[in-house]
Symmetry: C2
Subunit: 129 residues, 2 copies
DNA sequence: TCCTAAATGCGAATGATTATCATTTACATC
DNA sequence: GATGTAAATGATAATCATTCGCATTTAGGA
């Protein structure tokens, strides 16, 4: 009925949002961020699509912070920092993963490795003050 | 009243169990493993003490696997492997963390780092078959 | 316009974890 | 040994993130 956006898909909006931010949002945060633009968005849809994206490798699950899963639309492997005070999740772009890690892990474990997760916890710059 | 073990503390039993195993148990698993020896153990006690141990640095939280937190009584830093098929968590003892990582992360993030977590996901040897 | 499969909204169900509160225990003191 | 006090615990309710079930809507082709 609307002039345009008949083909608009909530799924696309969710993925787009994940790729546009570096806050590593939770499902709830994705929902709240998109709700103003998409008033009839349902939380279940966010969860469903996040699960789908994960399965398809379009987004990754950083880790769970204070019991809540956090997502990342940046699929390029990189290191994370998690602040245990404010639950912020930051990218440490300047810390590349040693290229050998992957292969080492496969050899060492005798398993088929699919993903590598490296993150640090501590107190972030803001919370130190 | 009992002959001995008047001073026996469930807390100690929980810590002892965590240090004796390498299965990286969940709270539920700790509970079920100790229940036969300690019939009046409560799940709440397990959760309470795990939280306490974590705060004191006596145990660490490996990661949450399929929505369940997994614990490790081995405080020496080491690498983990998580099987996405069977949810097993294994130690990769032969993969030491580069000593510089810690310091690098602190410099790179401008934060106070307290812990480092490195783990791989994939399909373990058993599940490959 | 009609049809079908996929996508979604809504709300209930699930399941892990935490909070509450009464009871018990450990241990120091008398 | 009796007593007082703070910590530890058991039992269960409450919480909260996540998933499920199902009816409805949408997209896109016939």
């Amino acid at each position: 009925m609307a002039v345009s956006q008949k083909h608009f898909r909530k799924r696309d909006a969710i993925l787009q949002y994940l790729r546009s931010t570096d806050v590593h949002p939770s499902a709830e945060t994705v929902y709240e961020s998109l709700k103003p633009q998409i008033p009839d968005l349902s939380l279940a849809t966010v969860y469903r699509n996040l699960a789908l994206f994960k399965k398809e490798g379009l987004v990754s699950s950083v880790s769970t912070v204070s019991g809540v899963e956090r997502f990342d639309g940046n699929t390029k492997p990189h290191v994370h920092f998690v602040c245990s005070d404010c639950d912020a999740v930051l990218d440490l772009h300047d810390m590349p993963l040693p290229a050998s890690l992957y292969q080492d892990a496969e050899t060492c474990s005798g398993s088929k490795i699919s993903d590598c997760h490296l993150f640090f916890t501590g107190t972030c710059r803001n919370c130190i003050k």
